[in-house]
């Protein structure tokens, strides 16, 4: 392509062609971040459940602290972007912004809880458990809406439902039963693992169709 004047018909064709080439195709591996966080949460949730069944007590729940570190580390390792030749479409921008908001909310929650532990000698760490379902649930549902992936919308909505149910249960009984850890793992399987695989399949199909 070069700098040359074109006819009106050519203009119209060029605009259509360029928009078509830049349309919102899912890049291959779009569901990988879902899979990383999904599988890590499922494994950790099951591990805590098993340890509590084996009478390790509530201290086993501290394994959840590892979740953000493992998730972040694996996300950085697997999501190495190509250095050049990148365009960001509006859906990707919206999805990235939502997940940034989710991450910042977790950081704020962590700061508040640490503050209460240090200065008030007590804190309801259960809030992490509730937020761990509620916030990613919102993020997943919005991602599903942006990508037109129903499994993510339904999964996200179920995550929100489990989060609200866990909160209600805790308020009523001041504790959560061991089975809630299994529920946490199951929620992540529905909320992230299944949509993650489906999004990856969808991206593969879209990119195969384009070539």
């Amino acid at each position: 392509m070069e700098e040359k004047n074109i006819t009106e018909k050519e203009s119209l064709e060029l605009i259509t062609q360029m928009i078509q080439q830049t349309k919102d195709n899912l890049p291959i591996g779009s569901g990988t971040t879902f899979l990383i966080w999904g599988y890590t949460s499922v494994i950790i949730g099951c591990l805590v459940w098993i340890l509590q069944l084996l009478n390790f007590g509530n201290s086993a729940a501290w394994i959840y602290v590892l979740l953000p570190f493992i998730g972040c580390l694996l996300s950085i390792l697997y999501n190495r972007k190509p250095k050049e030749g990148i365009a960001e479409n509006y859906s990707t921008y919206m999805i990235n912004s939502i997940w940034k908001l989710v991450s910042y909310s977790f950081i704020i929650a962590a700061i508040i809880i640490v503050y209460f532990i240090i200065f008030h000698k007590q804190a309801h760490t259960i809030i992490f458990f509730v937020l761990g379902l509620l916030l990613p649930g919102i993020g997943t549902a919005v991602t599903g809406l942006a990508l037109k992936e129903k499994s993510a919308v339904v999964g996200g909505f179920l995550g929100i439902t489990f989060g609200i149910a866990a909160m209600e249960m805790y308020i009523l009984n001041s504790t959560l039963t061991i089975d809630w850890h299994l529920g946490f793992a199951a929620s992540y399987a529905i909320m992230m693992v299944i949509p993650g695989h489906l999004i990856n399949d969808k991206a593969k199909k879209q990119n195969n169709g384009r070539t």
Binding site: E2, E3, K4, N5, E10, S11, L14, M18, Q21, T22
Partner: protein, 94 residues
Amino acid sequence: MEELDPLLHSQLRLAIMSILLSAREADFVYLKEKTESTAGNLSVQIDKLTTAGYIEKMTDSSGAKPRTICRMTPIGRDAMQKYVEALKTYFSGL
């Protein structure tokens, strides 16, 4: 029939603007690949669009090699809208 914006009525510049209409932002290499243009020519056309205020250029230095990222400005979006509206008048009789 309305007059078409001469700055946009050029193959390469219109291609750049059309890409930036559907992508929120795109880097230099992406634009070069999609428009199948030479780096020198693309750079000149990007500068012309930047000078007109239709697009903005940014440099991303986070990687090992700095990347030039282009994004359409509200002025550019407005100009594209007017261009497409003017283009429609050429086909209204068909």
